[in-house]
Amino acid sequence: MRSVKVIVSFVFTLSLLSFPSSGFQSDELLVDDEEFGLEGSPQPRSPEPIPTRSPPVTAPTRKRHSDLDSDSKIQFSLEHAFGDSDFSPAGTFSARLKTWSHGGQTLTKLRFSRNSFTDEDKEKFKNLLESDDFYRIRIPSNVLSPPGRDFVISSVKARCLPREGLDEHFVIHMEGVNVLAVNYGSPGSCPYPRNLKLPAKWSFSSHTVLKNSEQAPRAPVFTEEILGGENAEGEVVQPPERSFWAKYWMYLIPLGLIVMNAITQAMNMPEEQATGQGQPSAGAVQRGPSSAAQIGRESVNVFFPVNGSYLVWPRPLNTEINLCIKILELKYFVGSRISEVKL
């Protein structure tokens, strides 16, 4: 047992050593897996932002895969504008272009290096902050042949960016090598009214996310299942046997009431006393539904006779909101549905 562990750890270290620089490995593997996952499976995923500090260390280009899919490194630039000024270069995106065997091309391993603000830029940005104006960015709509058909522009109110430093968040929507749109903004909320706040330090903290299109869920198809279910054995699954009480309580309670009523009547008759009729029956009513519904949960039960059966609305009251909403929903549920129920 121990030897196995030793061997495993040995193999592990060996595998680690076999890569020239292990410092970046875990990060890249993650990114890579993500991309594979995206290509292969249709299920949606929540993209993890890849935080990069500016100025980031430029990653040495390495070739890890020697299979059919060929990689090449590409770069495209980010340009920014302060208010209505012209666009000027503000940073560079670098990414791997992965060419798939089926001909498609996708970007992976997006990195972003931002140029730091010059004094002039800082001055402009301060002006933007004061006038609550827009800070605009653009990237080419085609990363292979920039700018493609047009630039993809996005903008944010400058007052949304400053936190500790300047926090920005890019979500780049891609389709192959085309950039459809870029969502640019602050990573968190930017409540209105926006307050003037100057950043403590003038360095950008950038988060970038690449997003590709998700596959839509297919319409469910039932035909085979129905056929299979019918043909398999013709086996009829019996509904779980219910207790006698559960089955017939609706008859038993009135019966009990009548019996009790009769007994009271019978007891009272000889003495000619007309009092004490209501109490036993009230007790029976109380006992009936609570034993039928789940005990221990506070619930609102609403009974509607529908063809002799009951619709039950157990509504546990966890929070006040729930209660409000439930009452509202109930109101309109009762309003809208009761009338429908009468058939």
């Binding site: 827009f134 909320s189 909403i325």
Partner: protein
Amino acid sequence: MPITYAFLLFLIFSSLQPILSLYEDQVGLTDWHQQYIGKVKQAVFHTHKTGRKRVVVSTEDNVIATLDLRRGEIFWRHVLGHNDVVDGIVIALGKYVITLSSEGSILRAWNLPDGQMVWESSLHGPKHSKSLLVMTNVVIEKDNVVIIFSNDRLHAVSCIDGEVLWNKDFEVESLEVQKVIQPPGSNFVYVVGFAASSHFEMYQINARNGELLKHESAAFSGGFSGEVSLVSSETLVALDSTGLILLRISFHKGNVSIQQTPISNLVEDSPGPAVIIPSSIMELFAIKINAVTIFIRVTGTGKLEVVEKANHETAVGDALSISEGQQAFGLVQHAGRDIHLTVKLAHDWGGDLLKESIIMDQQRGLIHKVFINNYVRTDGSYGFRALIVMEDHSLLLLQQGTIVWSREDGLASIIDVTTSELPVERAGVSVAKVELNLFEWLKGHMLKLKGTLMLASPEDIAAIQYMRLKSSEKSKMTRDHNGFRKLLIALTRAGKLFALHTGDGRIVWSLLLQSLHKSEACQHPIGLNLCPWQVPHHHALDENPSVLVVGRCGPSSDAPGVISFVDSYTGKELSSSSLVHSVAQVIPLPYTDSTEQRLHLLIDADKHAHLYPKTPEAIGIFRREFSNIYWYSVEDDNGIIKGYALKSKCDGNVADKFCFGTRELWSIVLPSESEKIVATVTRKLNEAVHTQAKLIAADQDVMYKYISRNLLFVATVAPKASGEIGSVTPEESWLVVYLIDTVTGFVLHRVTHHGSQGPVEAVFSENWVVYHYFNLRAHRYEMSVIEIYDQSRADNKDVWKLVVGKHNLTSPISSYSRSEVVTKSQSYFFTHSLKAIAVTSTAKGITSKQLLIGTIGDQVLALDKRFLDPRRSVNPTQAEREEGTIPLTDSLPIIPQSYITHNLRVEGLRGIITVPAELESTTLVFAHGLDLFFTHFAPSRTYDSLTEDFSCALLLITIVVLVAAIFVTWVLSQRKELQDKWR
């Protein structure tokens, strides 16, 4: 077995569906249906038989219909397809209507009495050309022959069975055939036309076998232009290419000769080029120079002489043979408020057969077409009736100096609809016109009581039903408590506004807009939008509400715009103006000024925003909200969506303080090689959302709906797949849908449907969007739903935060906060293809929603939104079932009772409009196409009002009887008690 359960459950739930259908006696109580045919292109009378007199018409909306000449009702009507334009109609054998349609490639015969199709044949030819349909009196083997020139080929078709007897091609390249003429009593036809625009070609062809008898051609260096007029069976008149020289072309006995006459010889002061009004009247034709119509006679010797110059607007009808060798034609001229109908003999200009003057409603505009028909009067002389088509597309029959009937066929082409409230009932407003007197009122109630107590005789029941249908309540001209009575204001393609009463669909007023009237400055005016301009309530109740009509002069988006303001109550044009800028987009802003006028931004083609109304107050309001106003544009053709903010000044040197420049904030560039925009949908601006939260019963959780007014749904398909369904394989077609925030340009959601293609119809409401498309893999239509939930507010569920007040429910929501949305989606198969889709809207948004689907069969189907719930699962848990979740099925059910149009069809359905009534349960639905249909619709039945047949009288009687019984028993018991005590 679970499937059986699921199926049973499904059955139960589907049986819990509200019964939307209605009883027989409820038809027509709240709904009305009007049938139209559109602007008439051609009319053929059928009056020879002693039976019902009728007229067969074809219209610009591709309708073939026969109308009753006595009342103007439709006997039968066929709506041909969208691209099946009718080229010509004739009546053959006295019992068939033969129509040529679809650019001359489909010939159909319809049975005249009942409109059943008798035969159909398709005609093919080498290339596209003008289509002509000529009825001949040639008989081949007891078969009448109709001759068609279409697709550059001459066909002879049997009238009996549609068999093509012969066809004939013409060798000459670029031959433009103008006329096919059969001289009366002959066995041949002339086919005449122009080749290479400078040669006149004449072919004489044997009508029995298609044999070419003669081919002559003549060159004319000046070239030909425009239409031709036939002045005899062997002579026609044309114009040269400059429009200054009249050409009389004679091909008598196959010898072609061209005689030139400069127009200046005939008319001294002829200022410009002329246009021929195409006609075929013996020895007479008409030309138009500017606005002057000139009638010119061609004498037997070939001399031309002017017989009349008409300065008024004139319409000329075709010739009508009244007796051997005699032809009459109709002429209608405007003279102020009147129109003059004249019927003249072709060879005798002076002798009028008929001269009538009729007062014409000014709102009908000019006369566009006239068709005349003759009949024999009781005294044996000839009488004439005329069918006229007006500028507003209405159709009128004139006979004996009066308008016998009129049809408002402009309503067949509604562009935009809005609603307006009616005046509040008060002392000054007259409603007496529809009020009943006391006796009638009492009688009605007595009848009703009898009906309730089942004492009514069949006649009484009929009277009660008549009373219900004609109830004065529903057609009053005042506002009602439930908000059912409204004015539907519709803008039609002809530039006319109609106000329809929702109670019975009658036209309250109509107005031919002067701003959308054809004029020198504005050659091709078209209406674009109709917006409620002023909706007075609270402090401005004295003002009448008004609507804003936006149009432009010409089809291109940079043509100058026109606007006009119309009073909704009186139908008077308050003011109108032609704008200096163009109109590309109209944006109603959510702000109103002190007189309740809504602020509107008109965006021009240069992306400048113009603020209306142009008042200092409006600009004050606008300046306050200036930084929060954003707008976006969708450029369908190159696949770019852009968002803008406003600049405080116009860019150019225009010193217009109501003009604002725009700055581009964001753009989304869709790759042109893989995506093409096919549909964009936003939420309705005035939609009410009742609750922001949705309870998920399954896990006792609350989800917040992402309710943003700034969401845009965009659907794109592969450019290849934008054609017909089936033109591409599933592998090369896809559908991508986007949800875009229009303030920041954030793509909130993007999803691809592989193997799917358009056409896409979508509807957006609250936090969900439903869209319809075709799935090529499954070979079926599909409907998908996306529901959007806001995750960033999910932590508001903590009750303590709510109590302490640390929740952020009341803080303003900024689009610039990064929104974390969660979407849930699901697709279902759907049987029909759609023409339109809408959703019910109610006053407070409490009532559950139903989708209104305009099916391919021109009906409106209501489908509960619960069927399109993304959270449906195969085996819903107990909690889900209680919530009303329907077990998952692969396709959406079509419940026959839920057609809200019941057995009616809204032919050519184009749009469905829903308007909330005051009563929360009810929404008003107006469907328009060729036909109009209006009804009240209660998605969850009318839970907040008593049903219409509820008898208050019975209730009162019951209460009175009960109270009386209580008193009687009380007295009795008192007496008994007393007796007991005495005992």
